[in-house]
């Protein structure tokens, strides 16, 4: 058995015993980098200057509306739309991906058609269709197919703007998630399902316990991407009168005409939520990376903490190889 630390330690000991002279050479100059840095700095200064001095940004208006009840309510609806639509999208995506990979040709084909249709039409059009569903189906009922119905509701009451937005965004997302999940499932080595089957696990157990947890490593990054994208796509719901963040500020600036400041309010909120989601994605990815690398890298917080705690400490002494040999 080889133990890498040991060989490293003996290597260090050897290096110390007979250390060659360090090289002191004149480093290569990079004038191009300095010029590029200067250009970027000037541009950045110009931007900062205009942000501060241009009175039309109306920063006082921005801050006064930033935490107003109407904006916060809109933010709430935006987050609700994002979370619920993504949840629907993910569940639907897993089901569609499994269907797509199924041996049953009808299941696989219907999954293909679903993805083809929902990816092939603009999500804005889908939202409008769901919003106007009552025109197609005035009454919606639950019952035996082609038989009697037990529960009937008026479509106009059932499909509120919010429900239409959730349906439109969620069903559309399902098509995209299906492809992401399918890629994840296909990325898991065939030997894994074989080993699980050889142990007597059923195909559903194999999928749930062995394949999907490993597929997650491939699925998570694009899903994070989709969630961030969904956060912003949810602003399309403003078209069907859902008072999410964008529509909330639109309602305000349609009265006071502070268009740009209020759009900046919305943008700042979108940026904040996106940042939170990005951080969340980092930790979810880390969780599912367990076992994929020999050792997980430190999180930024762990790195800062280690940096702070070792700041004044002496540099770590080379490992005494003698100790290890005895152990």
């Amino acid at each position: 058995m080889t133990t890498p630390p040991e060989s490293q330690a003996t290597g260090q000991a050897a290096a110390q015993a007979d250390a060659p002279e360090e090289i002191h050479a004149v480093p290569v100059r990079h004038p191009g980098r300095w010029v590029a840095a200067a250009v970027v700095l000037v541009l950045f200064a110009m931007l900062a200057h205009s942000l501060v001095t241009n009175p039309r940004f109306d920063w006082s208006v921005i801050w006064s509306y930033f935490t107003s009840t109407r904006v916060l309510k809109g933010l709430q609806v935006t987050i609700l739309l994002t979370v619920v639509s993504m949840a629907i999208g993910i569940v639907l995506g897993v089901i569609l991906a499994v269907m797509r990979l199924s041996a049953n040709p009808l299941l696989s084909a219907s999954s293909w058609v679903y993805i083809w249709f929902f990816r092939g039409t603009p999500v804005l059009v889908q939202l409008l269709v769901w919003f106007n569903l009552a025109f197609l189906y005035p009454k919606i009922s639950i019952g035996i197919p082609f038989g009697p119905s037990w529960l009937t509701a008026n479509a106009n009451n059932l499909i509120t703007p919010l429900a239409a937005a959730i349906l439109g965004l969620g069903l559309n997302e399902g098509a995209y998630m299906a492809e992401i999940v399918r890629a994840g499932i296909l990325s898991v080595e065939h030997g894994q399902s074989e080993a699980a089957q050889a142990l007597g696990m059923s195909s559903s157990q194999t999928m749930r316990r062995i394949i999907l947890p490993q597929a997650m490593r491939v699925i998570i990054p694009p899903t994070g991407n989709e969630t961030i994208s969904m956060l912003k796509t949810s602003s399309l719901a403003s078209v069907i009168t859902v008072t999410e963040l964008l529509y909330a500020v639109q309602l305000i600036y349609s009265v006071n005409f502070k268009t740009i400041p209020l759009l900046i309010v919305a943008s700042i909120w979108y940026l904040i939520v996106t940042s939170v989601l990005t951080a969340g994605q980092y930790y979810v990815e880390r969780y599912f990376a367990r076992g994929s690398a020999r050792e997980l890298p430190l999180t930024p917080f762990q790195r800062v903490r280690r940096y702070l705690t070792t700041w004044h400490a002496a540099p770590p002494a080379p490992l005494p190889s003698v100790d290890r040999d005895q152990a």
């Binding site: 058995m1 142990l199 007597g200």
Partner: protein, 268 residues
Amino acid sequence: MSAAAGAGEAGAGLPGSPMVLAEGLHKRFGRLEVLRGIDLRVARGEVVCVIGPSGSGKSTLLRCINHLEKINAGRLWVDGELVGYRQHGGKLYELREREICAKRAEIGMVFQHFNLFPHMTVLENVIEAPIRVKGSARAEAIDRARQLLDRTGLAEKSDAYPKQLSGGQQQRVAIARALAMQPKLMLFDEPTSALDPELVGDVLAAMRDLATSGMTMIVVTHEMGFAREVGDTLAFMDDGLVVETGRPRDVLANPAQERTRAFLSKVL
């Protein structure tokens, strides 16, 4: 030979009956005939080593025995029961998934590339099937897993992930994982072929232990030394057929068939 006569010979679960019996076994992948009439008999407690050139159908034979492949013709019995089918009134019925799973659970299999579950620790790898498939209690499964890991000297690696282990350690975990299901038959598919030479010994030692404990084993291998010392029988396969079987010493020292001789002259 008719199916009925074969079934009689296979005799379900009787002590003297063979653990594995293949008669005229055929397996095709599309138009490629991989197995072309295999006849093989493995007694209880016997260790059969299978050698042969690559592409001769050794792995496919193991996969057929473990229901991972469906056979196209011939008959195959494991422990007196037909593999893949149920015979009823002269007709064959395909087994349902649940029935196949139940049979696979009684046969352990070890793969060339270990195929440990990388997202689970060593201990989780070993207890997964006993808990999910057999319905063992968690504490009991953990107890048994620790015993098995202890036996191959991997007790302190319980909480490591497979990637943190050497190939030899991974393969020994894979053996422990298969043994945790308390199988009646163990199949090894070139278990040492993916290992660095210095790691092969530990895995072979674990297999030798297992053979001494009376386990019925079919080992596809290129380790002639292991075949000679541990194997009760050596089967040479070529081109989808079992060309020659016999005591390992005899087959290795003076093969009866020309093809066996040609193969051995290349590998020995």
